[in-house]
Amino acid sequence: MNSPLPRWVDVALLPLLNVIIAFLIGGLIVLSVGQNPLRAVQVMLFGAFGYGTGFGYTLYYTTDFIFAGLAVSLAMHAGLFNIGAEGQAYVAGLGVILIALALNGLHWTLMFPLMIIAGALFGAGWAYIPGYLQAKRGSHIVITTILFNFIATSMMSFIIARFLKPPTVASDESAPIEMVSRVLKLNTFIPYFKTAPVNVTVFLAIGGLFAFYWLIWRTKFGYAVRALGHNQAAANYAGISNQKMIMLVMALSGAIVAMIAVNNVGGVHGRLIMNYVNGAGFVGIAVAFMGKGHPIGVGLSALLFGVLYQGGSELAFSMPGITREMIVTIQALVILFTGAMGDMLRTPLARLFSAATPSGGAR
């Protein structure tokens, strides 16, 4: 049995050390192709934070990752592993584009809540099906959500190409939403962000972090979710319906990740583009694990991945020796060390702390 670590070590020091290790190894890879790792870090950080457009892009990515991270976290608290965030966000895009095209031209302040509702309904509906199958039929949620990602991809390709694509457009995408109906970009009132795609959905994401805390730790529903996640038998004992909770949690998880559609379809792209989610749903899994399902952790790790995405593009652009693949490798290292091997340093740290404790005044 491990001696328990102080809380700050668990939530702050351990993830930080993991990220540092990932970057050290990433640095070795950069070094091995004859590039200067320190300069790479510098370029990356400048690209992510140094100027308006770059920072705006970082925030835009972060917005997506927060939604995906919270969605996966919610399911995680109930003991469910929702790998289907990617597909749920994709299907939610259909809800957003349908309402937006139906009411095209409506002012964005009215359109924004409608897109949230429509997206949430579609995302929730798509996530509900695996939830139902798990609850009533015992089909494992991990398998079904993975499969539902594929189904979503195929189904959406079909719908976009067959029904949504206007005959005049060459690429696979829907008709555009009028500018007045699109979610407002921050650069319209904060010129600093220049051409960055970040829009007011970022505030929805930040608000979502607070709402998530309230939901999980301050409501009866959150109590039931956590009871179920920690101990299914005890939840049954407490009269918490396992089946109802699974379906509800999955639907809610799908509704949260649907906000990615509002950010992209309703805002940044202003149309439904094929495969627009582009992996954000999967990043959410890493974000949720690294953030340990807590909104503060999710917010910070979403930001880290935002930096990796935006800084990474910048790096590929200004240091041609570092290819796109190498950046993906570094991202993978971060996921590996913070997620899969996140507890690697736990035992040595616990030794260190228990060695320090007895003299430290236990008597």
Partner: protein, 541 residues
């Protein structure tokens, strides 16, 4: 039993050799964060003796043995094995020094055979055939020497609990254990199986092995040990010659005050029927019927005890009556109204109908151990806290404070994670939550399993108090003593059927034991019905 034991002690030939020490612990200290689990422990264990270690839960017995077995490393202190100092770093090291351990929860691979389990981790060669050949030989010898006969080809999950325990002992002996640590070995055994275990332990001792027995059952200490050491709050209180002490003295040393070992209760005043079970048939998770047509009722102001060997349908019966498990057939009536068990939130409906439930396994069902104490003090009643969506945390925390005070839950910190409370205090958290709701019907499973003596007395008194307040109480326990001392009526369950009813005042322990193992039957239907358990019982006798 004690007579034959003393005779054995006197007859042992080489008293000189027996007086040398197998294990010596000097000044052992161990901290877990702020908890000082072992304080400056000195302990000498003589070779060729059975040495008991008693103490309340959380007294540090298990920690001490884990240090000896290499699970933990002591912060300071010295371990001497056969006189030579060693720093034992892991259990492999302990085994190499001849120290073996039989855990309370068996460490066996259920779907492997006895032989496979015995050699697991002790294979001599990449090919298994030579190892098996050798292991068969060794097992045969051990069986002959120590009455440790188990079918080497049997699969573990087909064996009775007593036989599984023998496999654990064989595992340790196969690895050359000279010192055998047994942690609460009889908790899961029938009386007959326990007797068999004690015979094995005596034989082992007479052959020169050293046995360390951790238990909270003082009767066992008196029956089998040569010496007994008492621990309290992490410290070693005293080591005594068993023949010079008494259960009363030991209990007092353990708790630090005088303890009543008997339950004091007045006669029952049964009122109207509050809980009615009619022809109940319940299956387990694999659709195998476990409760096979059970009918009984419990009246207000009486305690009905269900006696039986673990695994004869008690768990499924409790789960069904408390709404956790759907029944196949039959009816459960609370206060005259049938309880609908459909869906998987029947427990909520049962609670709403005035039923409270202290589950058999508090860690698996009764508590969410990752929750803090206050969160567990509302488990099952969470919907009563706060209007609308929000959870009224202030009210819940106030409730927790009340329970802590009323049930003397220690440490009195409602923010502590429940996993960090001792077994007895965890049980008090559950009891407080269930009893303080003023239910009409209280279902109690294994109220004192893994609970220390001081808390047992308290828990028994609380149950009696509930009875005297006019509640209908259904009690299930594998501790026959507990059933006998608390119940006003005893029902004996065997193979999913009620096979007899007894009056605790006149019931004879042997007769109850025979009913429990299906050997005798008060009803003709159940005679010879049990196959597996029944055979296991015969093997023991």
């Amino acid at each position: 039993m004690e007579d034959s034991l003393n005779q054995n002690t006197e007859q042992r030939p080489d008293m000189a050799a027996a007086s040398s020490l197998a294990i010596e612990l000097i000044g052992i200290n161990k901290h877990f964060g702020p908890v000082h689990a072992n304080r400056d422990i000195n302990l000498q264990i003589k070779r060729g003796t059975v040495h008991g270690i008693v103490g309340e839960n959380g007294a540090g017995k298990s920690t001490l043995m884990s240090i000896l077995y290499g699970f933990y490393t002591a912060d300071s202190g010295e371990i001497r094995v056969n006189g030579a100092p060693h720093s034992i770093t892991d259990s492999r090291h302990a085994l190499a020094l001849g120290i073996g351990m039989v855990h309370q929860h068996f460490m066996l691979v259920d779907n492997m055979t006895v032989l496979e389990n015995v050699v697991l981790g002790a294979e001599d060669s990449p090919l298994l055939a030579p190892t098996y050949a050798k292991a068969r030989q060794v097992l045969k010898r051990l069986a002959d020497d120590y009455e440790l006969e188990v079918d080497a080809e049997a699969v573990i999950e087909d064996l009775s609990v007593g036989q599984q325990q023998r496999v654990e002992i064989l595992k340790a002996l196969y690895r050359g254990a000279e010192v055998l640590i047994l942690d609460e070995p009889t908790g899961v055994l029938t009386p007959a199986e326990a007797d068999h275990l004690f015979r094995i332990l005596r034989t082992l001792r007479d052959e020169g092995k050293t046995i360390i027995l951790i238990t909270h059952k003082l009767r066992e200490i008196m029956a089998i040990t040569d010496e007994v050491s008492v621990m309290r709050q992490g410290a070693m209180v005293k080591t005594l010659q068993t023949k010079d002490t008494s259960p009363g003295e030991l209990a007092e040393l353990m708790v630090g005050r005088r303890v009543l070992l008997r339950v004091e209760k007045g006669p029952a005043n049964p009122g109207k029927v509050l809980l009615e079970v009619e022809n109940l048939v319940v299956t387990d998770d694999f659709k195998v019927p476990r409760v096979k047509g059970v009918s009984f009722n419990v009246r207000a102001g009486e305690i009905v005890g269900i006696a039986g060997v673990a695994g004869n349908g008690q768990s499924e019966l409790l789960e069904s009556v408390s709404g956790m498990r759907d029944q196949l057939l039959g009816v459960v009536r609370l206060n005259g109204a049938p309880l609908s068990l459909e869906g998987d939130d029947g427990a909520a409906r049962a609670r709403a109908a005035g039923l409270a439930h202290v589950p058999e396994d508090r860690l698996r069902e009764g508590l969410v151990t990752a929750f803090s104490e206050w969160e567990n003090s509302i488990l099952g009643y969470q919907d009563k806290y706060g209007k609308g969506l929000g959870l009224d945390i202030d009210l819940a925390r106030k409730t927790a404070d009340e329970y802590i005070k009323k049930f003397d839950i220690r440490p009195p910190s409602k923010d502590l994670k429940t996993a960090n409370f001792s077994g007895g205090n965890q049980q008090k958290i559950v009891l407080a939550r269930e009893m303080e709701r003023n239910p009409d019907v209280l279902i109690v499973g294994q109220p004192t399993r893994g609970v220390d003596i001081g808390a047992i007395e308290f828990i028994h008194n609380q149950i009696i108090k509930m009875r005297d307040a006019g509640k209908a109480i259904l009690l299930v326990s594998v501790e026959l003593d507990e059933i006998r001392s608390l119940s006003d009526r005893i029902l004996v369950i065997f193979d999913g059927k009620i096979v007899g009813e007894a009056d605790p005042a006149t019931a004879d322990e042997t007769e109850l034991g025979l009913l429990m193992t299906g050997v005798h039957s008060a009803t003709p239907t159940a005679a010879g019905a049990g196959t597996l358990k029944n055979n296991a019982g015969k093997g023991d006798a």
